[in-house]
Symmetry: C2
Subunit: 422 residues, 2 copies
Amino acid sequence: MADSAQALPRIVIIGAGFGGLWAASALARAPAQVTVIDERNYHLFQPLLYQVATAGLSPADIAAPIRGILSRQRNAYVILGHVVGIDKARRVVGLRDREVPYDWLIVATGARHAYFGHEEWAAFAPGLKNIDDATRLRRKILTALERAEQEPDSRERQRLMTFVVVGGGATGVETAGAIAELVKVALARDFRVINPAMSRIILIEAGPRVLPSFAASLSAAAQRALEKHGVEVRLGQPVTRCDEAGVMLGEERVACGVTIWAAGVMASPAAQWLEAEQDRAGRVLVDRNLTLPGHPEIFVIGDTASVRDEAGKPLPGVATVAKQEGKYVARVLLARLARKPEPPPFRYRDYGELATVGRNFAVVDFHWLRLTGRLAWFVWSVAHIYFLIGFRNRLVVAMDWIWAYLTFQRGARLITASNPDE
Amino acid sequence: MADSAQALPRIVIIGAGFGGLWAASALARAPAQVTVIDERNYHLFQPLLYQVATAGLSPADIAAPIRGILSRQRNAYVILGHVVGIDKARRVVGLRDREVPYDWLIVATGARHAYFGHEEWAAFAPGLKNIDDATRLRRKILTALERAEQEPDSRERQRLMTFVVVGGGATGVETAGAIAELVKVALARDFRVINPAMSRIILIEAGPRVLPSFAASLSAAAQRALEKHGVEVRLGQPVTRCDEAGVMLGEERVACGVTIWAAGVMASPAAQWLEAEQDRAGRVLVDRNLTLPGHPEIFVIGDTASVRDEAGKPLPGVATVAKQEGKYVARVLLARLARKPEPPPFRYRDYGELATVGRNFAVVDFHWLRLTGRLAWFVWSVAHIYFLIGFRNRLVVAMDWIWAYLTFQRGARLITASNPDE
């Protein structure tokens, strides 16, 4: 790094998700050296990851290289590295083979899947967090059907053609809808022995309704849309076991070829690195300006932080929360750099939620406006294309969707891997 | 499979490359059951594979699922399976776990890389044959630069920033040009410590000129274009060793971070399966109607077959040869099915060759017309987009290219893999 940069305050951001990247961008004109550390070289538009898993989009459509995003931001440095710890006393972030010193630190390391103490389920019911998860799941879905096509035993064939999604939140609902469209529509004519339209897609939710954070009327509408797409929705039934043959619901065995976990997340190990107090989901408890108590130089944001709204309700682990927190932290730092008073405590502006079920149907809950059906789907498409980083991606996604809409095709259904049995 | 199909003659095609797929399509109206066996679920537009490796295109842009291509061809069956042998006496193809009987067999299994008896080089100098090869190479190139960015030792840094392409045929020339553009142009602003424009790209050719199958004037033009793009071209120097630190040219050590093999291919093991006579490159010697001598029911086509033109020159291992052979074999089978006389022996219609060096420059050798430069590049683009299977892919590729042309961006530069050190 240039010598002149050495004198500048060092802001280190761990994680280039929505929180970290929005903080970095908002610091573009800060008289500081902004270093972004991530273990992957891309920023991911996670809300559409299920589309990669179900062969609707290619990885590059929803991911952009971090270096590319920040290439014109002259005060930004990018380090591809795996964080192993944080030394609060010495103010350094420890990577596997080096240390990165900071004056101010922003921890935005996101969340990973939680299996409620059954980590061994992860092997049988993987979740969707990054591109590799998504391409692996795509491979599993397509390979299950390929095996079914060659399977002489009818019971085993039916098992291979059964797909279980655990968790009825937005991710689970969208994934189940997308699998139904892939299997029952896009692949309908592709096989000769099996009829993919006879596949079963089962969405399992432990609570009393899908999309629990939406208005109840929207939950009901989403459930009807899922069922119309051929998804079986099973409510009030927690999964008690996941293994290679399927899942258990209490005493009932549901045999399936692929299980997808969308039931719960756990914050990244940042709380351990920071030796900080955490909530039940592993999220770091922060002060009202998003700093670690007793450490005004350390900020924790996004899925890694436990933040509550005025009513005392924890903020959801969604992109908008992370982005607003990232921008807020940047404002705090800009004030400190300018030796001005810090802004008032963080307040989340809740614009609402959206979720889609296949093509043509979505539910939109803007609080002041609730929509379902085709119009909601249109709103959802425009919002998601708009929020995708990078003009090119927007164009490609728009075109892929228009194309898929017109033809029911899914262009990305490739099984890639050296070992298809993996 | 339907019982009614059992009475129909069974045509089995091994391999869904250009040869196998074109044969299958040409048999769409044949009163026969056409079974295509491939170990991957996609047909690949191999001529553009280097674009995936250099982050210009996504895998789904140049690959299409075989089942999707054949979904409307009602007499076509697809088996995803790994062939382990052929029993000519019993007329069955052996897969790992089942046998597929045939009345007529078309072997179109393509080629793999040959290391001139040094198979241990494969680990250090991988080639490009399928999507997984391409994404792995993309990862290696991008990871080498990420490591260079963090490497304190200047000599090791320069090694990591050196890319060697072995082989000066069309694949080698196009790959070297694309790496130069990726590294020196698209990534130019992405790093802060290293300057990717200082990377070295070295193209090594054992013979006296690049593109040996083109007219000599075009070879010279391609070499000048490569050098203008910053590629060092080294002719007349065979590689004598590949290892983790780079390659040896005689006694000279060329240290590099990534080595790509584009120097030679060897036919797939079909000759062993068939216990057939083969040429030095492992290709099966066939009769003039592309059948195995003594076995009129077995056809061998594409890179797997050794076929000569009227002048006695072996036909090159390119897509056009494979396609024409596939269509020819279909004509022979259609004649047999109709109990009509077989067509005259196979004759290759040579329309010429094209190769590109980065954007704006290509060489076109249509024999009656030779072009270099921007116009040739335009011809090359149109030809490649036209030949890509599937309208959607054509559209996406066209858009990606127009976009890349206008902005010098490469959208697909993602490092994906669970283990980035792999």
